[in-house]
């Protein structure tokens, strides 16, 4: 468990964490904003996602063995770094509270409509607490272990669905549709930006990282876009964009109509399971980042005593942030999406820019 984190584990964590928004939010949001041609939006998202990946790689190579706080400390000084970390802390708290709500709503929508959300949230917090007690490496290793079977399952679903894909739901697409698909791509960009999470754990990497390992970042970003594209085509081609736009979890409804050579069906339970696992990874990682932010802000050495008080805060905050599906949709679309763009793109971009300007000085230092 004391071995350094590998790039594979980090990229698998990023992909796993992004799975639940890919399945739950992206198809619906793209149908809403991009209409029939919304499935093209993931392609546009590459324009923002690839430069962000380049910035993350650049920062890791320039500051080997340092995390985002230490990088900021070097670049802008302690006071400014702590201010930015405080803002990140607020973002993570809001993100966590909304994610907990999304998790509870998913379970209520799919499997257990009569069960109260506090039951789901308590179970999730117990699991997260247990995972964090074992160390964040456990979460990374869990992602590494579970992502393979999940990808195989998605692959099988895609093969089974090929026969029932309706091309009239997807075509024709004209240049007239392009502006709306470009605008809608911010929904994919806001999820793909999760790659900056890597910077919070950058101090756990081995000091020397080979070029081959760095290539895994590009692979992760491209696979994320590929997954978003495939899942959206799936959903639009089977459920139709107009219905997908109005459903809270269109991919779940899509999978209901898929069967494996008319022998096995009702795969939707597996989709719920994938979402639960992805939410578990997302909440655990974000919880770990939250405790890290507090650790950096107050300069404490141990984080173990923070888990229970923070879990209580997140549990109750969920009720104050959003409770119903409509509220969650509004909050995600208007607040969380835009905050994601600021914290995942604008701040890392500014850091990258400062690194470029101070590059000569940094190279002398390390």
């Amino acid at each position: 468990m004391n071995k350094p984190l590998t790039m594979r584990q980090v990229i698998f964590m990023y992909l796993f964490l992004s799975l639940s928004p890919i399945l739950r939010q992206i198809p619906s949001a793209l149908a809403n904003e991009g209409g029939r041609s919304g499935y093209l939006s993931p392609v546009w998202s590459l324009i923002a996602l690839l430069p962000l990946t380049a910035i993350v790689i650049f920062l890791i190579r320039l500051y080997p063995g340092l995390n985002i706080y230490e990088i900021m400390d070097n670049l802008v000084g302690k006071v400014f770094a702590k201010c930015i970390i405080f803002l990140y802390l607020l973002w993570v708290i809001l993100y966590l509270a909304s994610k907990m709500n999304a998790f509870a709503l998913t379970l209520q929508f799919t499997l257990m409509p009569k069960t109260r959300s506090d039951f789901f949230m308590t179970i999730m917090l117990v699991l997260v607490y247990y995972a964090l007690l074992k160390g964040s490496k456990t979460i990374f290793r869990f992602s590494e272990l579970a992502l393979g079977p999940v990808m195989v399952l998605i692959g099988i679903l895609f093969v089974c669905a090929l026969g029932i894909l309706r091309t009239d739901y997807l075509l024709p697409v004209s240049t007239f549709n392009l502006p709306s698909t470009i605008k809608a791509s911010k929904n994919v960009v806001a999820v793909g930006g999760n790659i900056i999470i890597v910077l919070f754990f950058a101090d756990k990497f081995a000091i020397s990282i080979s070029k081959k390992n760095m290539r895994k970042f590009w692979f992760g970003a491209i696979l994320f876009v590929g997954l978003s594209f495939v899942i959206t085509i799936f959903t639009f081609g089977i459920t139709g964009p107009s219905l997908a736009a109005n459903l809270p979890f269109p991919f779940y409804i899509t999978v209901k109509s898929i069967s494996f050579f008319n022998i096995f069906e009702r795969f939707e339970v597996l989709v719920t399971m994938i979402c639960i696992l992805s939410d578990f990874i997302g909440i655990s990682i974000m919880f770990s980042i939250m405790t890290k932010c507090i650790q950096w802000l107050f300069g404490i050495t141990d984080r173990g005593f923070l888990f229970i008080p923070l879990a209580i805060i997140i549990f109750y905050l969920t009720y104050f942030v959003s409770t119903t599906q409509f509220e969650y949709r509004f909050l995600y679309k208007n607040i969380i999406l835009n905050l994601n763009l600021i914290f995942q793109y604008i701040i890392p971009f500014l850091l990258g820019l400062m690194c470029l300007l101070k590059r000569k000085h940094i190279k002398k230092q390390y």
Binding site: D118, T122, I294, F298, G299, I300, D302, G304, F305, L306, F307, I308, P309, L310, A311, I312, I313, F315, Y316, L317, Y319, F320, V321, S322, T323, E327, Y328, F330, L331, N334, I335
Partner: protein, 62 residues
């Protein structure tokens, strides 16, 4: 639920007491966060149907 959380906080305090009592900063942080959590819990218990942030924002942004 708030009683369960209260008990968990006491257990957590007892288990981590060496660390909390040795460093003042840790104790203050633990107390502030615990009081924050319990405060939110009391507000939720007293008025469970308080308008959410999303509801308020929706009302004023639209």
């Amino acid at each position: 639920m708030i009683y369960v959380f209260g008990i968990l906080l006491i257990i957590s305090f007892i288990r981590q007491k060496d660390q909390l009592l040795k460093i003042k900063k840790n104790l203050i942080l633990f107390m502030v966060l615990s009081l924050g959590g319990i405060g939110l819990g009391i507000v939720h218990m007293v008025s469970p149907h308080i308008p959410t942030i999303a509801f308020v924002l929706e009302k004023y942004l639209k």
